[in-house]
């Protein structure tokens, strides 16, 4: 069943756990062929591994394992209030994958899950059926790259190969795929569609260096945006999360200028803007895990169980930032929380 570790370097994962019922799916078979040297562990249910007690999130993050599982219920969730809905009332999200290959210090997933390991659900057809069932009744805005980064994961499991044409065919469906990936090939290989929006998360390079471990540089993300817009994609730019404080305050205005000097603002669908924020429970959990993080030691306000900067500080910063952004983008096209 398992193999010795002699070929481990070829696989990006420490181990691959596979649910018994997941073996029969094509994704599983393809991965087993692709990563022949990786130890494979047969499991009954993904939660037996993912939800164990006493997992060390930080150490696991350095030795990621992949868990292949079959999702058995609830393929879609109503969008939470801490997320922007960009004007759509029927806002849903779906999670083909739990967790992310990147390691962002501010990421809420660290507080949401007991494990850093990545769960990838292999029953894509069930997801498609659930999405189609809802989209047949009413227009739906679907965040498809939620709790993860589907495009960054594309080289491991190409979910979009299976889903792209399906998304394009759904008349009532508007899909947002949020990413930090610099994968340009994606936008050349798939034709742009009216109902698919690629949302790029951007931040000043100093913020990327400080908080967004393993993510592509700002330069390479800008190149990916240029490729996407050149290929006709609807592109959203997300300045989210925005940080306030001595390490960030003087970085943003220069950054906005740099972005819109390199990306034609007319080719941008809209902009998402939001400050660093997190549910209080997640924040507390992460604060314990990341004992050496200054981010979780800053003074924040708690409003309605959400930890973030004070309203006053947010207003002052927002005004300053909007002054810079609106030189390039109409205010009506900027969505904030």
């Amino acid at each position: 069943m398992s193999k010795s570790g002699s070929n481990l370097n070829k696989c990006p994962f420490n181990s691959i756990y596979i649910e018994e019922q997941a073996y029969e799916y094509p994704i599983t078979q393809q991965l087993l062929e692709k990563y022949t040297g990786c130890p494979v562990i047969r499991i009954k249910h993904y939660k037996d591994v993912f939800n164990r007690t006493n997992q060390h999130f930080r150490i696991q993050k350095e030795h990621l394992s992949l868990i292949l599982a079959v999702k058995d219920k609830q393929f879609l969730y109503k969008g939470p209030e801490v997320c922007q809905n960009f004007g759509y009332t029927n806002f849903y999200y779906t999670s083909f994958i739990l967790n992310c290959i990147f390691d962002c210090e501010y990421c809420y997933l660290q507080g949401m899950y007991p494990s850093a390991n990545i769960v990838a659900f292999v029953n894509i057809e069930d997801y498609k059926n659930a999405i189609a069932d809802i989209a047949i009744k009413e227009p739906v805005y679907l965040a498809a790259s939620y709790d993860t980064d589907l495009i960054a994961f594309h080289n491991i499991i190409p979910y979009m190969d299976d889903c792209y044409n399906f998304f394009v065919r759904q008349r009532n469906l508007f899909v947002e795929i949020r990413t930090k990936s610099a994968n340009q090939a994606f936008y050349k290989n798939y034709p742009a569609a009216d109902n698919i929006i690629i949302a790029f998360s951007l931040a000043p390079q100093e913020i990327i260096d400080r908080y967004e471990k393993h993510t592509p540089s700002l330069e390479s993300r800008i190149k990916a945006i240029q490729t996407a817009t050149a290929n006709g994609y609807k592109v959203r730019i997300c300045f989210d999360p925005v940080f306030i404080g001595s390490i960030a305050d003087d970085k943003y205005e220069v950054f906005y200028r740099k972005i819109f000097e390199q990306i034609n603002p007319d080719k941008i669908l809209d902009v998402g803007y939001g400050f660093f924020r997190m549910s209080r429970d997640f924040f507390k959990r992460i604060e314990k895990q990341r004992s050496n993080s200054l981010l979780y030691l800053e003074d924040y306000c708690v409003d309605d169980n959400i930890v973030s900067y004070s309203k006053e500080l947010q207003e002052i910063t927002k005004e300053k930032h909007f002054k810079a952004i609106t030189q390039y983008i109409d205010k009506e096209k900027i969505y904030t929380l």
């Binding site: 398992s2 420490n14 047969r42 037996d48 591994v49 997992q55 060390h56 150490i59 030795h63």
Partner: protein
């Protein structure tokens, strides 16, 4: 500290000799052998005994989640894929009585083959099974795992099994078995070193001395629990900014106050100094 649990003296003896462990005369309930960094306990055969011994070690030595548990012992193999004497690192333990699966996180020992193991309550023989016997088996691993999952992190428990037989556990010769363990001692040492190295790389903020100082200050200066927490947060921040909060705290350890309001004044002064 590294805690090693073996079921039998025959498994323990070569390890005791190799690591130069000495009998801990304070322990009467179990035979424990130790040096400064390793303590080995001989649990007896079976998962209940292995779980009890693990908990006993943890309680006796006031261990924490950052300590390590190693179960080293023999196992049976239902197939001949590996030679006798091969050491396996276990990535899944199935308790054959309950059907429950338990998983250690295996982040080291990649030079060893990884396998799953079935933990039985009694010795098993090839003829006990009508169907395939493509599995490995022992009698302690699930007890270790059950105890360890309460006591330590999932990556700090290691199950190492050396194949002693192909499901024919009766009449095993001590003179044949002991060399099987001896041959793996270098690998056991390497695993322990990897384990310790691995955790030391995590670069966690250690605040033990600062905590002690804050406890003392809080007592002398009548700080409340909330004030203590605020102070610890400021200390963490100061330390991450490469300041030396301990010096500030130590300069006040002999100061005492008569009222809470006096303490509060000093509290604010300390906070200012930590900025």
């Amino acid at each position: 500290m590294v805690f090693i649990v073996t079921a039998l003296m025959i498994e323990a003896a070569p390890i005791i000799e190799y690591f130069k462990l000495k009998r801990d005369m304070n322990s009467h309930e179990y035979a424990i052998y130790r040096n400064e960094s390793i303590a080995l306990i001989i649990s007896g055969v079976g998962k209940i005994k292995s779980a009890m011994a693990t908990v006993y070690l943890y309680c006796t030595y006031k261990a924490t989640k950052n300590d390590y548990i190693l179960n080293i012992g023999f196992c049976g193999a239902g197939n001949a894929r590996y030679e006798l004497g091969t050491m396996l690192i276990i990535n899944k333990v199935t308790d054959m009585d309950t059907g429950r699966d338990l998983y250690p996180d295996v982040f080291f020992g990649h030079f060893l083959p990884q396998e799953a193991i079935c933990c039985f309550s009694k010795p098993v023989h090839k003829e006990d099974f009508e169907n395939s016997t493509d599995f490995f088996c022992d009698m302690e691993s699930s007890g270790i795992m059950e105890a360890a999952r309460k006591l330590t992190y999932a990556h700090n428990v290691v199950i190492l099994k050396i194949i002693s037989d192909y499901l024919s556990p009766d009449n095993l010769d001590k003179n044949v078995l002991q060399p099987l363990i001896k041959n793996q001692l270098c690998n056991i040492k390497r695993i322990i070193e990897e384990l310790i190295q691995h955790n030391s790389n995590m670069d966690e903020l250690i605040l033990d001395k600062e905590k002690q100082a804050v406890d003392m200050l809080s007592k002398n200066l009548k700080f409340t629990e909330a004030m203590k927490q605020m102070l610890m947060k400021d200390i963490k921040k100061a330390k991450l900014k490469n300041l030396e909060p301990l010096k500030i705290l130590e300069s006040l350890t002999v100061t005492t106050v008569n009222s809470k309001s006096e303490g509060k004044k000093i509290f604010e002064q300390i906070r200012q100094q930590l900025k």
